[in-house]
Symmetry: C2
Subunit: 392 residues, 2 copies
């Protein structure tokens, strides 16, 4: 009598995992240097040295019983204060420690945010292309995910299609900027227009439509790209963050939800988070990484390789004839596939030991994702394969 719902999830294959598994096999067969693996979004740069220094400082200067003890729900008070102050310093926001709920990564942050502002059966609206895990995240909250089709010319929000799908059942809107899989950063114009729409719909339907922002790539923005701090444009925003990419700590599970203090029922939302933690088996973020987050607030790993890789790939691929909306951040790029069947293109690429992910799982067929969080040297050696692949 195993759980039927989770059993049903087993039948939908995880294509990214399959590609990665094939890449692993090929690395063993032909050598790692001959496999161009752009399948996974695993950071390729080390944490800044300040992270290791922070761990050493924390271990040597904190009473071990206190250090490893249970955190209060929401996290260690001084950590939440440090996170709030860093955000306020950088973005002119007005968070207090009472608005910052520390979580084990962005996945946990989203699990809390989604459950707090929805009822089971509600609709959560998001925009293609979008992260493929949004479906299980939203299912887990008992809600229905509605995906607005993409504007493939800009990969910004397609507002015309949004109007069609926006109904009274929409409890919250979920966005991801800088975006996985496209690398696109929503422009100030997009954010302003979205905020206006949310205010309009909240009024029309007589209930606040919350905005949940998934921002693990917030600190990977390329030169010349504006990066509006979304919460400053719409009061009712729950911002989900992870240190996975900025500090290269994806395996350590540390992030937070920041509730805009001007959001409707901000204080109550925070107290709901603690109840959500109880039911979902989340019991706080790892104590040592909370303390590291406080000591390293505002710092990042050396993220410059991502921008370098992005430029090399964009310049080369567009010169070969690929059509690409230039990324403004992250370590992803989302070109159009040469033919309409991105799956077929990616299979052909696999046969050439070039691992790419078709856009279908991101709600955007006819495109493929390149995760260029790899050494620049691999990017350069992969270029002839990309060039070869554009010929049918």
């Amino acid at each position: 009598m195993l759980n039927e719902h989770y059993l049903s999830m087993l039948s939908s294959k995880d294509i990214i995992f399959d590609i990665f598994a094939y890449a692993t096999k090929r690395r063993a067969e032909i050598g790692a240097e001959n496999v161009f693996d752009f399948s996974l979004g695993n950071p390729s740069v080390p944490s800044p040295s300040s992270v290791q220094e922070a761990v050493s400082t924390i271990l040597s200067q904190t009473d071990p019983v206190e250090l490893h003890s249970y955190s209060p729900a929401g996290g260690i008070p001084f950590v939440r204060k440090a996170v709030a102050e860093d955000l306020n310093r950088r973005y002119g926001s007005h968070y207090g420690p009472e608005n910052i709920f520390m979580t084990s990564g962005a996945a946990a942050a989203l699990a809390h945010a989604l459950r707090a502002v929805t009822q089971p059966g509600d609709t959560v609206l998001t925009f293609a292309p979008c992260f493929s895990e949004y479906q299980p995240y939203v299912n887990g909250a008992g809600c229905r995910l509605s995906v607005v089709p993409p504007d493939t010319d800009t990969l910004q929000i397609n507002f015309e299609e949004t109007e069609k799908l926006f109904t009274e059942n929409v409890a919250c809107v979920l966005i991801n900027s800088p975006n996985n899989p496209s690398g696109i950063v929503y422009s100030e114009e997009t954010i302003t227009r979205l905020a206006a729409l949310l205010r309009e719909k909240s009024e029309e339907y007589g209930h606040t439509v919350y905005l949940i922002t998934d921002e693990p790539y917030r600190d990977i923005i390329f030169e010349g790209t504006g990066s509006p701090f979304i919460s400053n444009y719409y009061d009712h925003t729950l911002m989900c963050y992870s240190y996975s990419k900025s500090l290269s700590l994806p395996g350590e599970r540390i992030g937070y939800v920041a509730v805009n203090p001007r959001a409707e029922s901000a204080e109550c939302i925070f107290s709901l988070f603690a109840q959500i933690s109880r039911e979902t088996g989340h019991n706080g973020a790892p104590a040592i990484w909370q303390r590291v987050a406080a000591l390293c607030a505002g710092q990042t790993a050396d993220l410059s390789v991502y921008e370098k890789n992005s430029s090399i790939l964009y310049d080369a691929l567009t010169s070969y004839g690929y059509s690409i909306v230039r990324p403004g951040g992250t370590f992803y790029m989302f070109p159009r596939s040469p033919g309409p069947d991105a799956g077929a293109f990616c299979r052909r690429a696999m046969e050439n030991d070039l691992m790419l992910v078709p856009g279908d799982g991101f709600g955007c067929p006819g495109h493929f994702r390149i995760a260029y969080c790899v050494p620049t040297e691999m990017v350069i050696r992969s270029l002839p394969v990309f060039q070869k692949m554009i010929r049918p």
Copy 2:
């Protein structure tokens, strides 16, 4: 439009937190040395030095990108292997790495185990006295918790009452031994009888009734107490463990579920765990603490203070006239309250700056919990207050 279910949870006050908050206030008013706080189950002994050494070794000897990278679902393979081998060495079990799913503590382990072997609407059976958080854990899986009344003479399982509450809707049975709040370790006789009952009921109802064991206190067993390894008595067992108490790391969120390889559909259960992680926002246990668990497998902090405190309290309190079933492990004790209203007794104790938790929240009125994970010196100084309190 905040979530109504989680809003409803806010109205049921967390009495343990209230007592702890009062204790904190009193510490500020009259000095920490004058407040006898037995309210919280936070370990009072430091992690063994091997934990800090393991962290140093891991940080200095592992490539930082690899160290902090995403773990595969279920955890790092060599960690799962080390955990399995340590269990097999100590308990003669037959776990492989494919049976060990690393989680962020026992709460997460239970979240996975409960969801895997139930359908929403099923009944989960447990035995009073039981951990007060079982209600939200079971609610979170969409199931109904059925609590078998206690056998207050022994605090072992009350099998007569169990028969009455065991129905076809029972998908799994949840036990906690060594037990919070009683400190009781289920005897081999209890385990054998429970296993026989589960086999009988599985046959009668035509479906396997799984056993979920919550065992964070497994390594805190007092001299002379047998501690049968429960999974060896019943094949269909999912064992949930945490390093919170054995290595004094409650804030770091590290534990696991071990699926008995002979359990029905053991392999499938493991694959369901990965799907459950996706929906609940669990995305693996913290990488560094997984590695520490592997390096420190089978080790514990110096846990002897708990047994020492237990003996002092038991001997003194019984000499004053308290009725107590002697604990076999943990750092809890669960005496009968002098009058039937344990809440009134605990309030009177609070007025004397002695912080105790009434048994009602643990499904066992007329008792109170003493969490003696405190310095021995505090235990000794608290004795006159216990003596005074037994007089009406």
